[in-house]
């Protein structure tokens, strides 16, 4: 090795070491983030929108988070309590969290268990309209034996106790700041709602609702060398395509969130070489829900799409198992995924697609399209093609109203599925409804997905966190939406099976993870084998970051910004 070469090698080694040596808080300057849906408030309890939850996650933190693998990781606590380490009581009715000592709020005051208890009180105060109150629904009481110990007692056994104060949707707010903002007074505390004091890596410097947030590194953050960025500019507004462009093509921004755009457009932007697209999968499934009750417009409002206990009002076509199965067989999920999502989606045959331990493999046959099989099934069931090719049985035409929300991917899915169904002799009328109406819970509107005044409908649903218990419980008989409950209830398919309800009840009593996984799979399989809901695509969250940004561990289980303190600039 010549002398020059040695010098070069040495200097290369030094330059590799340099970033580590320079690692001090704020050394990497400014981070520019773009969320094309602008953030309305920094208080996730008052909004519930994903954008608000994620923006707030830079400032206020929960006790524990989910990492990119869906594993629970401690944040403000020393360890995750379990039955074996004594943190969870053997009867599963209480959990005791040990808070990390020495954690302070960004204003310098101590973070204690009192703040956590206050957060519970804040979110459950009457008339507050707290959007995350379901996280605290099972909490009987919270107490602090000492400032660093938080004991949560549940109303009954809680096999999965990591709900209250875990994950970005239920972070802890400061008691001192929000003390006078309980209940109906919550909206009046604009200053606190726009600039909550937190324990997180950043503090709000300037908040402009529905526009932009300027944040600065928290001087009291518990890790002295973090965050690496001195400030964050968090811009909102516009549309997904131009947000992607600002990272991938012009390089004006470092991180862009939720880039639901045509896959080929995204791929083309990525070839500009300024950034990379990241996809993270969690629990979102694009699916077709089948209406098992009769949605005929001839029925009155008390009977239309209403499930009647004795089965008198069942769907004239879709109550036939063969029809439901044929509809599923005719769909080519690979093609749908390729057209609508490419690498941001995977074809799926399960309504419960994750975490891995809950994923069933019993239904994977649905991945292959089988037009012939579907035709044979309908033939055997007595559905005979009429003169126009549409099958008829007992004077009932196989004709369906297929509705979804307005969205270009969903409309192309509708067109493809309509064509496949036509091939097996099923006629479908397509309809799309503005998302704000379709997903809006207005009981007066005939067009909501809960009312389901159609035969089949398509949308995406998911569950937060990693525990599927509440999600799978949606298909209980008691959760069927009816006029009596103002159409609330999440059993959109009007599916009712006592054996399924028994599985739900069993899961609520079962603590062992393996057993819970077995039950969740059994429930998933029951739904799949009955073809009451037809899963299509397992959807991932899609974001993009600049190539100069390092440390991004994108997750769809929690806030995408969960580890923003570790993000750094590569030089």
């Amino acid at each position: 090795m010549t002398r020059t070469r040695r010098i070069l090698a040495a200097s290369a080694a030094v330059s590799l070491l340099a970033p580590a040596a320079m690692a001090e808080r704020g050394a990497d300057g400014q981070l520019n983030i773009i969320y094309w849906q602008a953030v309305s408030t920094m208080n996730p309890f008052l909004s519930g929108g994903t954008k608000e939850v994620e923006a707030a996650s830079m400032v206020i933190e929960p006790l524990a988070s989910y990492d990119d693998g869906g594993a629970i990781v401690p944040r403000l606590v020393t360890e995750i309590p379990t039955v074996s380490n004594g943190g969870v009581s053997p009867d599963l009715t209480s959990i005791t969290w040990r808070l990390k000592p020495g954690v302070t709020w960004s204003d310098g005051t101590d973070f204690t268990a009192e703040d956590a208890i206050f957060t519970w009180r804040y979110c459950t105060a009457p008339d507050g309209g707290c959007a995350q109150s379901s996280y605290f629904a099972d909490v009987e009481s919270m107490e602090a034996p000492d400032p660093l110990t938080l004991k949560i007692t549940f109303k009954g056994p809680k096999p999965f106790p990591y709900t209250a104060l875990v994950g970005a949707e239920s972070p802890i707010i400061q008691k001192k700041q929000f003390e006078n903002c309980l209940g109906a007074r919550a909206p009046e505390c604009t200053e606190a709602n726009f600039g909550p004091i937190g324990t997180g890596p950043f503090v709000v410097k300037d908040f402009r609702a529905n526009d932009v947030i300027v944040l600065e590194a928290n001087p009291n953050y518990r890790e002295p060398d973090k965050p690496h960025f001195q400030s964050v500019l968090f811009k909102g507004g516009g549309d997904a395509a131009s947000a992607a462009r600002s990272v991938l093509e012009t390089g004006e921004f470092d991180y862009a969130w939720n880039l639901q755009i045509e896959p080929e457009v995204l791929g083309q932007m990525e070839t500009a070489g300024k950034g990379v697209v990241k996809v993270a999968f969690a629990t979102s499934v694009e699916r077709i829900h089948v209406n098992l009750s009769n949605p005929s417009s001839a029925l009155g409002p008390d009977l239309r799409s209403v499930q009647v206990a004795d089965g008198a009002n069942k769907h004239p076509i879709l109550s036939d198992f063969s029809v439901r199965k044929a509809l599923s067989l005719a769909i080519d999920r690979e093609v749908l995924t390729e057209v609508g999502y490419a690498r941001t989606g995977k074809p799926t045959c399960n309504i419960l697609p994750g975490p891995d331990i809950y994923v069933s493999t019993a239904n994977d046959a649905c991945l292959a399209q089988d037009i012939e099989g579907a035709r044979a099934l309908l033939d055997n069931a007595g559905w005979v093609p009429g003169p126009d090719g549409v099958r008829v049985k007992d004077g009932q035409r196989l004709s369906l109203l297929f509705q979804t929300s307005t969205n270009s991917v969903r409309q192309s899915f509708q067109a493809l599925i309509k064509q496949w169904w036509a091939e097996i002799g099923v006629e479908s009328e397509l309809r799309n409804i503005s998302g704000s109406v379709f997903f809006g819970g207005d009981p007066a509107s005939p067009d909501t997905f809960q009312k389901f005044y159609a035969d089949v409908q398509m949308f995406t649903n998911n569950f937060s966190g990693v525990d599927p218990e509440a999600y799978m419980a949606q298909w209980r008989c008691a959760d069927i939406p009816t006029p009596a409950t103002q159409w609330q209830g999440q059993n959109i398919d009007r599916f009712c099976d006592p054996a399924y309800d028994a599985l739900v009840a069993e899961m609520a009593r079962t603590g062992k993870l393996e057993d819970r996984a077995r039950l969740a799979k059994a429930m998933n399989d029951k739904l799949m084998e009955n073809y009451v809901v037809l899963p299509l695509v397992y959807r991932g969250g899609t974001s993009a970051h600049a190539k100069s940004l390092d440390g991004v561990r994108m997750t769809d289980w929690d806030s995408e910004l969960w580890n923003i303190a570790d993000w750094r600039r590569v030089k």
């Binding site: 519930g48 309209g129 402009r208 300027v214 507004g237 131009s242 067009d447 609330q488």
Partner: protein
Amino acid sequence: MLRFALRRLLVSIPTLLVISFIIFALLDLAPSDPTANLPLTIPPEVREKIRLSLGLGEPFLVRYALWLQQFMINEPLNILEQWTGWTIGDSENRLRVLSWATRSPVVDLIVARLPQTLWVVGMSYVIAVLIAVPIGVISAYRQYSLFDQIGTFVSMLGFSVPTFFTGLLFIMLFSVWLGWLPSIYDTTHVVRDWDSFVFQVRQMLMPTMVLALANASQISRFMRASMLDNLNQDYVRTARAKGMRERTVVLVHVLRNSLIPVVTVIALGVPTIFGGAIITEQIFRVNGIGQLLIVGIESADIPLVQTLTFIFAVLIVLFNLIADLLYGMLDPRIRYD
């Protein structure tokens, strides 16, 4: 003139009340739900509680009366208090119009948005007028010349090509390919010195030009038509016969008379400045009043949409009156008393 103005102002009060009621009723009857955009993971019973906490449990007329009181009485009182520093009544517990999405006073949101809207949309309007008037004058004076043909072509283009197309074209050209101008407007930017001023100009350039093109085409056509009307009038021949210089004939006599209808058109267009440019603001993320309105509509933030549309209504009524008064001042033949 004063009596006319006062009479018109008094008449506009019931007009505005009717308008506010119609807007409120329309928004209320339209199917919308402030919780519609929340993730589906939030259960229906929680959504119902959110709706109740927003006051949606009250009957329609009660909510309308409450909005009227908040907007017509509480907000002006609040502004008065801020200006004078007085305390009038129980100002602690006086409810202001609160936005549902942000849970903060709507008027504060609007005030925060005004600067960027006035800068970008207002500046584009000023530029449009400055470009349009000379183009209109020359086009008319040299009718069917090459200049007129080009002017007609460009204004037809500006008329017919929508701003969402020109905006994207500009971004592709100047931001993506050439990399000269930022495609995203930074509303937090503060002009301190020469460099920051240059940056402000650069980030304003594209949205301003897109809007100016659209506005200028319209105004220049009005200007041209009005000039053509006047150029053939008898008084123009008289002026020329008197031996006046052509310059004086065109710029003093014809231009002044031709401006009368154009000034009204310009005045009637001023409320649209405050209304913001919904599409252009969205494309360049200027995030002014127009974007605020769109966000409000998308998230079914009724108090925000109601207040904004009502303010637009007030501005339109006001500038109609101003246009009428200007007309009377510019044209001595028109007298209102």
